[in-house]
Symmetry: C2
Subunit: 208 residues, 2 copies
C-alpha cells in the first residue's frame, strides 16, 4: 500500500487584510479521492486550502491559505510519500504588493499588478525520485485534451486528469485521464465519489 499526498481545495492570495483572489474549488474532489484511497488501504496526507468540505478523519490534514504555504507543505510531505495527486486549484496569480491596511475606495480605478505563483504540481514533478509518481489536474475552458497533455509534459506528471470549469463547486464531474503520450486511459462521468473511486483504481493500476 502507498502513502499518497493529495492537494485539495483553492488557495487565497490577499490584496489587503480583507480582499483576495481565489476560485470556487470546494475540495470535494480531494475529499472523495482521499476517501477512495483510504478505502483501498492507502495512507493519505491532505494539504488543503480553506474549504467547508469534511475530509476523512483517517487522513492526515494540513491546512494552508496561500499557494506558497501549500507549496511548502506539499513539498515537505511529498518527500515522505510514494505519490501525489494534485487535486487542488491553487490560486495561480498573486498581487505583487499586499497592502497592510484595507484599501480605501477613492472613486477611481485601481491598477493591480498580478504575478504568477509557484506551480505546485510542477515543483513536485521536479522533486520526484525514482519510483515516485505525480498525477496532475488540468482545468481548461478550451482545447482541453491538448492543453492537458502540454501541462502533463511541462509539469513532469505521470498522468493528468482533464476536466472543465463545470467541475468547480459541483457534485458532478466529467474527466479524462491522460498519459504522457496523450492517450485517454479513462473517461469517467458521475458524482465526484464515483469519479474518485474509478480514477484512483486507474491511477494505482497504471503506476504499478
Amino acid at each position: 500500500m502507498a502513502r499518497i499526498l493529495i492537494t485539495s481545495g483553492p488557495t487565497r492570495q490577499y490584496l489587503d487584510p480583507v480582499r483576495y483572489l481565489t476560485n470556487a474549488s470546494s475540495g470535494r474532489m480531494g475529499a472523495a479521492l482521499a476517501s477512495a484511497a483510504i478505502n483501498e488501504g492507502h495512507e493519505v496526507v491532505i494539504v488543503s486550502g480553506p474549504v467547508s468540505v469534511e475530509y476523512p478523519l483517517r487522513a492526515k490534514l494540513i491546512n494552508v491559505v496561500t499557494t506558497d504555504e501549500m507549496l511548502e507543505a506539499a513539498t515537505e510531505t511529498f518527500a515522505k510519500c510514494d505519490g501525489a495527486i494534485g487535486a487542488a486549484a491553487p490560486c495561480d496569480y498573486m498581487p505583487r504588493f499586499i497592502q497592510k491596511q484595507k484599501i480605501a475606495k477613492t472613486g477611481e480605478p485601481l491598477q493591480l499588478e498580478l504575478v504568477e505563483t509557484p506551480d505546485i504540481v510542477a515543483t513536485l514533478g521536479q522533486q520526484k525520485r525514482r519510483g515516485q509518481w505525480v498525477v496532475g489536474f488540468a482545468l481548461e475552458t478550451q482545447d482541453r485534451r491538448f492543453r492537458a497533455t502540454v501541462k502533463l509534459e511541462k509539469k513532469l506528471c505521470d498522468l493528468i486528469v482533464s476536466n472543465g470549469p463545470q467541475a468547480i463547486d459541483s457534485d458532478q464531474n466529467d474527466v479524462e485521464l491522460l498519459d504522457g503520450a496523450g492517450n485517454v486511459i479513462a473517461a469517467i462521468h458521475g458524482n465526484k465519489e464515483i469519479v474518485a473511486r474509478k480514477l484512483l483504481k486507474k491511477i494505482t493500476k497504471f503506476i504499478q
Copy 2:
C-alpha cells in the same frame, strides 16, 4: 412587527470563468441577525452571496453571486420592507474586463484594472422612503469609529455597526453601534449569536 431585509455573505467578481475577487465573509452574522429577528417576531428576507452557512428556514432567501446581482435583489426587496440591515460584505471592486476563457499563464505579470462596484447600502439609503430605515456595517482596519461615522453619513444610514477584520469568518465579533452623531449606542462583544440578539434589540428600540 417589521419586514426586514438582511444582506449577508460575500459577493464574487470574476476575472474569467475560474478566478474571482472576494473576501472571507461567512454569512454567520447575517444568519444570526436573521434568527434573532425571526425570534422577535419579524419577517425576514435575506439576500446572500455564496456561503456555506445555514440560514433560518423561516427567512425568505434570495441567492446571488455578484455585487450587481445583490444590488438588484436588495433594492427590489427593500421597496417592500420596513428596514434593511447591510450585513453583507459585497466585493467592492470588479475587473473592468471579464475574460470569457480562462486566462492562460504566460510567465509575465498580469495587469488588472479594477473599478468600484455600486454601493448597496448607499443605494438603499438613497432609496429610503419616510419611515424606512437602513443599518450599515463598516469593516475597517484603522480609525474604525471615525471611518464608520463617515460611512454612515455618506450612505444615509440611520445606524452603523463598526467592526474589525477579525470578525471575518469568525464565530466571535466585537462591535460598536453608532448613531448619526457618532455616539456609541452599544458596544457588544461575544459570539455572533449573542452580538446579533443584542444588536437587533438596540436597532429596533432606536428605530421606534
